[in-house]
Structures are given as structure tokens and as C-alpha cells.
Assembly symmetry: C2
């Protein structure tokens, strides 16, 4: 799969996402940075009261007060769409990347190759927004088979502020470990996707083994972090869009929660 | 201190807060529910870009990505003021109270008097907004002596959605334990303030002892939760505006983070 092919296909999602009905129009930029020119206009279709309630709902989700939630409220579908496609999501991603980068630069590394930064993959390094754009931004209940088809296309674009952070922490001398809820059977497509999106030089990529499929994400990820600690790694930073990437036990010294108002993984 | 006196003094804060310069104008409602009539107009003085950046900053604070932060950004003072005095804060408080109430109702209590809900006090049950309104909504660095004077006046108003939750969990049969970073020397004024604000029938009120003053809030509160567990209490709910109310160890089964963009306590 060439970069051009990926670009062509991703560009389609800006118009309308359909696996079956391929359209060849090419837009100048990938979906994730397609801002409205006028910030106010992005909310024009949404009633002020609904906007306030959905902002409140989004805060509650980000603060983990809704734990667990199954789908976004019906009235917030347009709001979440506007947030994800407008400047809000982009700025939030930049804010968390900058905070994480500032922290990373402030850390004195031991330099023995045991200083680790963990990254989750979906909605952390790679964006599945093209998929969710075709599935009501999280309102539609999660369909494993459909999502697997998307994953197997290996064309989720990079979340650019995360790619910037990723390169920063590598350059600072951190070992990068990727810890994902994706299953081991998706190792090859995941590597393809990461490389196509610009990610390089990770130290390890940990996926869910067949015996780990029934575990809660928080348990599975805590166990993996605990194993890293037993191997002598110091987990200094951890970036993830789900609280289950960050909480549990064997915490990182600092954790960075990326925004995700589309879905919740316990 | 009568209710009328409290009302008179609190009303002043809507105009301008001054410990020295008391003004007798009485406004019809306390500060915290003084909404703008037009939701949009509350942001009229703030540039759209600043609004987006400050919303992003607020999300980062609520998701604990800024841990620790010392003061709000200069450019966000007006934004935080509008959020705190406008509908945003009120709706966020109602959202978290409703979520917590729904959870509380879903819990099957053991009924042996060991089912506990913990509440923090400041910015959880009681609002110090009148104080912070006079101190640039958190931009001014925290002044312990000035804040103590305010605490000793014992007139912080109730956060109404929290009072509603408080009464709900009591009625459901939870034991309520108040766990605050306020010092033991403020026990009496704290009790006066809680009672004046409508809080009743707590099982225990835990304040910081003299030997606990140097501990991080997260450590002090975790130690106290751990002691509760050793006494056989089951901590089923925990409400606080600071992550240090909720994280650490001996976690509650569910934790509820109330909004607070004004200050951070590690």
C-alpha cells in the first residue's frame, strides 16, 4: 500500500465514508485537520442548551465520572461530530502533547535503556475517526466485526500531535513501548499501519494474546506494566485516550489522558 | 450567625467582595446561580481563539494532565470567571451529582452501617467562589492567611447539587464521612458552616491533625481511607473536586470528580 493510495482513500472520508462506494474526489488535507473557517459556525446547527449539556457530558466522560458508558447521548451526536472535526479536538490533542513533551524534557533519564514511555495505539497514536465518522461518532453501539475490517485496512492516519510527542520522547532517549488492546492476530496490520503513519523505532509492541481477550483492559494493561517493572523498566510516561490505559496498578510516574468522547473501554 | 446575616453578606459578593468594605445591597439570589440571561453573551468579551484554548486548558486540568499546576493562565481569567458564574459550572455540577446519584441508587447496601460515601468539603459541599471571585478566580497565587480569614467567617454557601446528592445518599442508608484538607483548628467553624449551609447527620468529620500538615493531600486522604477500610467500612462512593481526593490508594468503588478550574491541590 503506497502513501498515495492511503492518502486517496483517507481523503474520501472527508466527503462520506463508505467501504463499498468509493469516490475518487481528493481533498487537500486529511480529515482530522479539516477545520471550519469560522469557529462559531461549527456549532450553528446546535442549540445553545444542547451545546452546554453536551459539553458537560464530555467533561464528565473525560473526568471518568460516567464510568462505564456504552454510547454517546443521542442529542450529542452533532456536538461530538463538530468537536471531532472542528478545532476543539485538534487543540485538545495539541495541549496534551505539549504538556507531555514539557514533562518529558524535564525528566532526568538514567540512560541505562530502562527509561520507558508507553503509548496506547487507537485514538492515541492512530486515529479511527474515519471509521467513527461512518458510525455516528460513537452513538452506534460498537460492532467488533465492522471495526476489525477497518483495522485490517491498516490505514488509520497518525494523530499528528502524538507523532510529534513520539519523536520527541525517542529523541530524548526514552524507550517507547506500545501497549494496545488490539489482538495478537492484528500484529502485522498494526505494524503496517504504524509505519505507514510515520511511527518508527519502538522498543516493543504488546498486543492482547488469545488468553487475554476476556480481561478488562485496565487489568490487562496493568499486568503488562507490572511485568515491565519486574524487568527493571521505569515507566516514566504513559499516553492513552482511555482511563483503562492509565489507571489500575503499576502506574506511570505521569499519565496523559488524550480526549476521546466517542467510546469508553473499561 | 443567622441565615439572614449569611444571606446578606453572601449577596455582597455578587457586587464586589471585600472583607473591609461591607455594602448592604441585597441581590435576589446568591452568586452561584446568577446566570447570564443569554448564554452566548457570557463569552462576549472573550476572543474565540482564547475561548478554545482556555476550554482545552480546562479539559487538561480536569483530566489531570497538568498535574501539578500552580495558577490559571493569565489569558483564561475572564474565561474561568464566565464559566464559574455562567451556566457551565452549574450544569457540570448537576451532571456529576446526577451521575453519582444514579450510581448510589444502583448499589445494593449491606445494611450493617458500614456502607460509606465520602465527601470532600471545599468546592465539593461548600463553595469558596465568593473568595476566589475576589482573588482573580485562581490567577492570584494562593494566600493561606487570606483564605483562612474567609474560612473562619464560616459562610461558604452550599453547592446545591452536592447538597441534593448528600441528602440522597443519606436517605439511601449510606454513612457519610467528610474528609477534608482543612486543619483540625478549623473544626468548629467548619461544623458551623456546614450546618448553616444545610448539611446534617454526617457520621464523621475528618480534618488534618497538626502532624499531618506537611503530607500531600493525596497521601493524607489515602491514609484516612485505608484506616476506614481497616475499621470494616466499605467505601462505595467518593466525591471531590481534586484528584488528590480520589486517587492514591484505598480507592472508592466509584469516584466522582467535581469541576474546579480555579486551583489544584497535589
Amino acid at each position: 500500500m503506497t502513501s498515495l493510495q492511503i492518502f486517496l482513500i483517507l481523503s474520501l472520508f472527508s466527503v462520506s465514508f463508505s467501504l463499498e462506494n468509493v469516490d475518487n474526489r481528493v481533498l487537500p488535507r486529511p480529515l482530522i485537520i479539516e477545520y471550519s473557517e469560522n469557529i462559531e459556525s461549527q456549532f450553528k446547527k446546535i442549540d445553545d442548551e444542547v451545546k452546554l449539556r453536551c459539553t458537560s457530558w464530555r467533561f464528565a466522560a473525560e473526568a471518568n465520572n460516567l464510568n462505564p458508558w456504552k454510547s454517546i447521548p443521542r442529542e450529542c451526536v452533532e456536538y461530538v461530530k463538530d468537536y471531532m472535526l472542528g478545532k476543539g479536538y485538534a487543540i485538545d490533542l495539541e495541549t496534551v502533547s505539549k504538556e507531555a513533551g514539557d514533562y518529558a524534557k524535564s525528566v532526568e533519564l538514567n540512560g541505562d535503556g530502562k527509561d520507558v514511555w508507553i503509548f496506547d495505539i487507537d485514538e492515541t497514536l492512530l486515529s479511527n475517526l474515519p471509521y467513527y465518522a461512518a458510525h455516528e461518532y460513537g452513538y452506534e453501539l460498537f460492532n467488533h466485526a465492522e471495526f476489525d475490517k477497518w483495522v485490517e485496512m491498516a490505514m488509520a492516519p497518525a494523530i499528528e500531535p502524538s507523532l510529534k510527542l513520539y519523536e520527541e520522547v525517542l529523541n530524548l532517549g526514552f524507550k517507547v513501548i506500545l501497549l494496545t488492546g488490539r489482538s495478537e492476530s492484528h500484529r502485522s496490520v498494526t505494524i503496517d499501519n504504524l509505519i505507514n503513519a510515520g511511527f518508527r523505532n519502538w522498543h516493543d509492541l504488546i498486543l492482547r494474546g488469545p488468553d487475554e481477550r476476556m480481561k478488562l483492559a485496565a487489568t490487562y494493561k496493568s499486568e503488562k506494566r507490572s511485568e515491565m517493572e519486574k524487568e527493571g523498566y521505569r515507566i516514566l510516561g504513559n499516553s492513552g485516550d482511555q482511563w483503562s490505559d492509565l489507571l489500575g496498578y503499576s502506574w506511570s510516574v505521569r499519565s496523559f489522558k488524550l480526549p476521546n468522547p466517542m467510546y469508553y473501554i473499561p
